[in-house]
Structure formats: structure tokens, C-alpha cells
């Protein structure tokens, strides 16, 4: 009997083609859209197109599934998404850190609740349209490698996925280029073939994360504490309306005048200060990370070299990684990097293989 796979479908071209390819390869495909949030909760414009979790996207998934003769369901995971991803997103910003909600969603919702749903439906696998490659190594562990299309590689957001979950996951787009994916969609006349892609945070529907934080906090009675904006040399330059509104490296929206451009260097929760300075001062080399997950297995011992990526659009840079107790690591770049930001994910690579990742402390 054909192996059964539950495909996570956003309504975009990637997951549509992923479902189609699996069907072609003889899997018994079931499509499912994760309903992760409601407009009444997250604000924004209900009539805006092109986002997942909108009725139009669900209709796209539904019709794509119909055209490949796969059943399709909507799974309501909004409760789990709110309590893990959105609450974490807000609480991280509230303490001056800059989270990666997609990383959190992957480890806590997709490769947790969604996978559980797949198992409940009797599926052997779950699948996504991520551009990354999952494979089993000689040592019996499941590895993640970068997607072949360098401009689309999504291995960065997958470091938190467990071995157990990886063993039950298919990513049919890992070996493909985006242009090929679009070609296939066109060839099979999928209605999502020409859909533009969305790379922003799905639940911040207007891409205005300050608006989102303000509304979310206000509804829950949280108030931001105003504080001082201070130059790293100690001079107070102005006031801010809450450190949640800032992120490391930010230049715009500081509301201060200064002869040279100033950038956020540090968000000090103890003194509730936003510390600013010149661009040069943003370049540092050392930091610690915690909640580390080793995809390739725990490193044997001691310090090792790796290419290190510190945000989604960062070009990995070489450095030394030293594992510490309690799932922490010490990282030293060989060359200083700009705006190493607490709360963001750091991912360690050996060539195109993901060794592991963690959260910048």
C-alpha cells in the first residue's frame, strides 16, 4: 500500500508543488492547511490577499488539492500557535530581544502539533515545501542540508526540529530551484503558479510589528515603560516609549538628532535604556547562545570551526564554536559581524550541512 503523507499547505506555490510532486512519486497525499490565527486577534486587513490563513489562501489550497485528487482539510492550530509563537514573539520583544517566530513555529507547531495530526490521520510522513534537504547519515542520525537553490535555502529556520520529527518528514523541494518549481506549477496549471511569495511574519498582516505589539499588549493590559535613549559615551540623547519598539542595528525611528547616524547598540532591560552609537560599534565577534539543538549529534568535544549564520538574510561567516554546559555555546567569529542580536537564531554549518543552532543570549 502506498505510504500516506500529510502535506502542510500554505496556499503558496511551493507547498502546492510539494504536494503535486509527492503525488507523482506515488504517495497517498492528504493536504492540510494550518489555521494559525484570526484577524480578530492579530488586527490588520481581512481583505488583504496573498497571506496564508486567509479564506482565499484556503480556497487556493482546496482547489490545488482537488486538481491533484488529494483530500484537503483545514486544521485549527490557532490555540497552540498563540500560546507558543505569538506569546513568545511579544514577550521577547517586551524584554528587548528580537525573536524568529518562524523558528518557534517550526519546532513547536509544525513539527509538533501538525506532525501529531498527521500521525492521528494514519500518515507515515508529513511534508512541507521548505527548500532544505533531510537525509539519514551513516551514524543513523537525520541531517538537514541547505536547499540546492542558494537564494531560497530555508535550512536556517529548521535547526530546532527534533530527530524524531525529521525521521517523519519529507521536503521534496530541497533539490530544486525556485524557477523549476514555478515551471512545474505552470506546466500542471496549478492556480498558485503565479502567486507572489510572502516572506514577512504571517500574523503581522500589515508588516507593522510595532502596531502589532502595541495592540497585543494593550489588549492584555501590558504597558510599555518609557525610558532614555543614551549614547554609548553616556550622554542622554532623548526619550523612548518602550524598548519593545527597538531592535539592534536599527537607525530609523529613534527620534533624536545627531550630527552622525546613530544605531541601536543595546537594549538594557535593567535600566530600561536604549543605548545607541556609531555604525562601527555594532561590529562584534563574541556571543553566547542557549537552547542549543545539535542536528548532527552532539560535537565530540572542545572547540570546533564552523560557518555561522546569525539571521535569516546573513551570509554565514567563519568562527569558533565552544559547547558549554546546559545546552549553551560560546561563539567567536574570526571577523567581526554587524548587529549580533539577542533572541535571533544562530545556526552552525559545515559546508551545506546544518550542525545545530540555538538562540543568541
Amino acid at each position: 500500500m502506498a505510504q500516506k503523507v500529510l502535506v502542510a499547505m500554505s496556499g503558496g506555490v511551493d507547498s502546492s508543488v510539494a504536494a503535486l510532486l509527492l503525488k507523482e512519486r506515488g504517495y497517498d497525499v492528504v493536504g492540510a492547511h494550518m489555521k494559525l490565527w484570526d484577524f480578530v486577534d492579530v488586527g490588520g486587513d481581512i481583505y488583504k490577499d496573498g497571506r496564508c490563513c486567509t479564506i482565499d489562501s484556503i480556497t487556493d489550497c482546496r482547489l490545488v488539492c482537488d486538481s491533484i485528487e488529494a483530500p484537503f482539510y483545514v486544521l485549527n492550530l490557532s490555540r497552540e500557535f498563540r500560546s507558543t509563537v505569538i506569546d513568545n514573539f511579544v514577550s521577547e520583544y517586551n524584554v528587548g530581544r528580537t525573536p524568529n517566530p518562524c523558528v518557534k513555529c517550526n519546532s513547536d507547531v509544525k513539527w509538533n502539533e501538525f506532525l501529531r495530526k498527521a500521525e492521528q490521520l494514519g500518515c507515515d510522513y508529513m511534508a512541507t515545501g521548505h527548500y532544505a534537504i533531510i537525509e539519514k547519515n551513516g551514524n543513523g542520525r537525520w541531517h538537514i542540508r541547505k536547499g540546492v537553490d542558494g537564494t531560497r535555502d530555508q535550512s536556517y529556520v529548521l535547526w530546532g526540529v527534533s530527530q524524531e520529527a525529521l525521521s517523519k518528514t519529507l521536503m521534496p523541494l530541497g533539490e530544486m530551484k525556485k524557477t523549476e518549481v514555478r515551471q512545474i506549477a505552470q506546466k500542471y496549471n496549478l492556480r498558485t503558479a503565479h502567486k507572489p511569495e510572502s516572506r514577512e511574519i504571517c500574523f503581522v498582516t500589515d508588516n507593522n510589528y510595532r502596531r502589532f505589539l502595541d495592540e497585543w499588549n494593550e489588549k492584555r493590559g501590558n504597558e510599555f515603560e518609557p525610558g532614555e535613549i543614551v549614547h554609548e559615551n553616556g550622554i542622554v540623547l532623548g526619550k523612548h516609549d518602550g524598548i519593545a519598539h527597538f531592535t539592534i542595528g536599527q537607525r530609523k525611528g529613534l527620534g533624536i538628532s545627531h550630527p552622525t547616524p546613530l544605531y541601536v547598540q543595546e537594549l538594557d532591560t535593567k535600566t530600561n535604556r536604549v543605548i545607541v552609537g556609531e555604525n562601527d560599534a555594532l561590529f562584534t565577534s563574541g556571543f553566547q547562545a542557549n537552547q542549543v539543538n545539535w542536528i548532527g549529534g552532539s560535537p565530540d568535544s572542545g572547540t570546533f570551526d564552523a560557518e555561522i549564520k546569525i539571521r535569516y538574510l546573513h551570509k554565514p561567516s567563519a568562527g569558533k564554536v565552544t559547547p558549554l554546559a546546559k545546552n549553551r555555546v560560546q561563539v567567536e567569529f574570526f571577523d567581526k559581524q554587524r548587529a549580533i542580536t539577542a533572541g535571533q537564531s544562530v545556526v552552525f554549518y559545515n559546508g551545506d550541512a546544518v550542525l545545530g543552532g540555538g538562540i543568541i543570549a
Partner: protein, 388 residues
């Protein structure tokens, strides 16, 4: 794959005899029923004949029956139309705690956006409300009470006569949503003493997109639509003649078959409940054992989510339902079962099987073959289910 349809409370297949009756009005008899010429007259006659037949079926006068697009529209006209008519004098309404969203949402709209006071009439563990409770909730300013006749999720048949009596004795209008009742049990608006009653065709093997609202002679409501004198200005819009003809034919068949259908469905549902309870541990029947529409069997499989059962059954070709589906198709926990005070583990694991004329024992046997292993699998993965 075998396909078994056990979702007749959602909708039913149209009887071939109904399709046959409708065809002339989708073909040669196409006139606008409001036109003065012969084409219009032919359609008008068909429309009024249908009205007469349907009115007779619920023991109302033809002049008291207004055609709509279906149950949701009928419910909205009843609730909002009454509220807008009486808003200078009244500001309170009462709806049953287990109503369909077609009643809930207009009521909540009035409450949230138009400053109306809203009370929900509670139900007991089997879904019944009491007239004494209703009496306590009625105020001087109450405009309307709306309580459904038979519940769509559990089949509970409410004692509408007693509730309507309580409302009317205090000068309050009473509406009942009877879309799950008309054609399945005997419904008589004079006996029920209701002021308004919603009915629809597609739940009883008629076409979708046609329904009606009975409005007792003398009851005034404000229209929600404007744009013509159709349906005595209470629901303007070119009449769906073919729909009304199909609706009338569906009720004619229902009337002819009511006793036979009722007997068959009672037998099938008894068989079904007995077999399921026998084969699977920790199953609870939601709603009363008697005093319900027999085709509705709502069961809670303790410790698992209804959604997972529903989807697993669908993958085996068995169609049923859980909770109420929203636009997106995502399921929400049933507000009906929650109002009945069901514990969370039971409310979450609820599934509604609703049988119909084409349901056979063989089909149910197919369900008994597929259902126990699904329940077993889901329970083995459940973090909350403990074997007793």
C-alpha cells in the same frame, strides 16, 4: 472506496421526483412571477400553488408564508426584522443557548453593535429548556424569544408549545427555527402557538437556496431588503419559482413518507447506538434517548478530538460531522455540547452521524468495521485518555 453519507443534518440529496417537478421551471416556464403577461402568470400560479401546499403542511395560511433563500435568511429576518420593528419600545431579546449561528449571530450583532440586551435561555444536560426559566428571563422590554424546535447537533426536540406559551402570555413574540424539524416530525404552527417559524428545503431532499418564514397574521416586522413588492415587501427579489416548486414537492414526499421514514430511522439509529456502545468503550450519547429526531446520533468518544475522528473517517469514505464548520472549514468545539454542560473531554470528542432515507444497515456495518480501529489508534496516541 466505499462511500457512506451520514451527514443528512447538513444537507440531503435532492429526490429525483423533486428534480422532475422543478425542471419545467428551469426550462419553458421561465417567466418572472411578478410580470403581468402570460409568461409571468404561469410562473405566478406555480409559485402560489407551492405556497399553498407548504402552508398547508405546517397548518398556516398561505398569506402567512414568505419565501426566502433558506434557514439563515429566515432566522435573520425574524430576529433583526422584529428588533428593528420594535426598537423604539423594546431593547431585549432571548435566544436559546443551543441555537444555530443563524440565530446567535444576528442576536449578538444586536447586542454588540446596537445596544440590545441579550439573554441566553439555558438548557439541561439533554438540551431541554424550561418555561419557568424563560419566564424569569422575560422583561418588560423583551421583544422576541427565539428557541429552536429540534436541535441540529443533538436532535433534542424542545417543548416549544410551553415556551411559546410563556412568551405570548407576556406579550412577547416567539420565533422557532424548525429547519431540522419540518418534514421529519409533524409541525403545526397553530398547535405550537409560535409567531414565526423558519423552514428550509434542502434538509428534506429539496433544493438548496429556498426556504420560508412563517409570520403569523398581524405580526409586524421591518424588512431587511428593499427593492420591490415581492413577498408583500417583506422580502423583495425576483421569486425562485423552481425552488418553491421543488420545496413543495419535497414536503409532499416527506408527508407521504413521514411515518415510514421515522420508523426506519429509529430502527437504524437504535441499531447504530447499540452497536457502537457495544464495540467501543467510553462512548457517550449526547442528547436525550427519546424526544429527539431519530436520524441524529451525536456520540462523544472520550479522550480524543472529534476533528481527528471526522478526518480519519473521511479518509475511509465515511462522511459525518463534528462541531460546526466555519467558512475556513476548521472545526471549533461545539457550543451546543458546552451549553449542555458536557465536560471538555466529552465535548471535544463529539461526532454527529445523521442518517437519511438512503442509509442502510450495510452502510452502518461498514462504519462498524472502520470506526473501532480509528478510535483505538487515536486513543493510543491521546495524552488524556486513560483506559478504565
Amino acid at each position: 472506496m466505499e462511500q457512506v453519507y451520514l451527514d443528512h443534518n447538513a444537507t440531503t440529496p435532492v429526490e429525483p421526483e423533486v428534480v422532475e417537478a422543478m425542471l419545467p421551471y428551469l426550462g419553458e416556464t421561465f417567466g418572472n412571477a411578478s410580470s403581468v403577461h402570460s409568461f409571468g402568470r404561469d410562473s405566478k400560479v406555480a409559485l402560489e400553488n407551492a405556497r399553498e401546499q407548504i402552508a398547508a403542511f405546517i397548518n398556516s395560511e398561505p398569506s402567512e408564508l414568505y419565501f426566502t433563500s433558506g434557514g439563515t435568511e429566515s432566522d435573520n429576518i425574524a430576529i433583526l426584522g422584529t428588533a428593528y420593528q420594535l426598537k423604539s419600545r423594546r431593547n431585549h431579546l432571548i435566544v436559546g443557548a443551543t441555537e444555530h449561528h443563524a440565530v446567535f449571530e444576528p442576536a449578538e450583532h444586536l447586542h454588540e453593535k446596537e445596544n440590545w440586551l441579550l439573554d441566553k435561555l439555558p438548557v439541561n444536560s439533554e438540551g431541554f429548556s424550561s418555561a419557568e426559566e424563560l419566564n424569569r428571563l422575560i422583561k418588560d422590554k423583551t421583544a422576541i424569544v427565539s428557541v429552536m424546535l429540534a436541535n441540529n447537533e443533538t436532535g433534542t426536540i424542545q417543548d416549544i408549545e410551553a415556551l411559546a406559551d410563556a412568551a405570548r402570555s407576556k406579550g412577547v413574540l416567539f420565533h422557532t427555527d424548525a429547519v431540522q424539524s419540518v418534514g421529519k416530525i409533524s409541525v403545526d404552527v397553530k398547535k405550537l402557538k409560535v409567531d414565526m417559524l423558519s423552514l428550509t428545503a434542502h434538509k428534506i431532499y429539496g433544493p438548496k437556496g429556498i426556504g420560508a418564514l412563517f409570520i403569523r397574521q398581524g405580526v409586524k416586522i421591518a424588512p431587511l431588503f428593499y427593492g420591490g413588492s415581492h413577498e408583500k415587501k417583506r422580502r423583495p427579489g425576483t421569486e425562485n419559482v423552481a425552488g418553491t416548486v421543488g420545496f413543495a414537492k419535497a414536503l409532499e414526499i416527506a408527508g407521504r413518507r413521514m411515518n415510514e421514514d421515522h420508523r426506519n430511522l429509529t430502527e437504524l439509529s437504535d441499531y447504530f447506538i447499540e452497536k457502537v456502545v457495544d464495540a467501543i468503550p467510553d462512548v457517550v450519547l449526547n442528547g436525550p434517548r427519546t424526544k429527539r429526531i431519530p436520524q441524529t446520533v451525536n456520540l462523544s468518544f472520550v479522550g480524543i478530538e472529534g476533528e481527528s475522528i471526522l478526518l480519519s473517517l473521511d479518509l475511509e469514505g465515511i462522511a459525518c460531522s463534528s462541531g460546526s464548520a466555519c467558512t475556513s472549514g476548521a472545526t471549533e468545539p461545539s457550543h451546543v455540547l458546552i451549553a449542555m454542560g458536557k465536560p471538555k473531554v466529552e465535548a471535544q470528542g463529539a461526532i454527529r452521524f445523521s442518517m437519511g432515507r438512503s442509509t442502510t444497515k450495510e452502510q452502518l456495518d461498514y462504519v462498524f468495521e472502520k470506526l473501532p480501529p480509528i478510535i483505538e489508534r487515536l486513543r493510543s496516541m491521546s495524552p488524556v485518555y486513560e483506559r478504565t
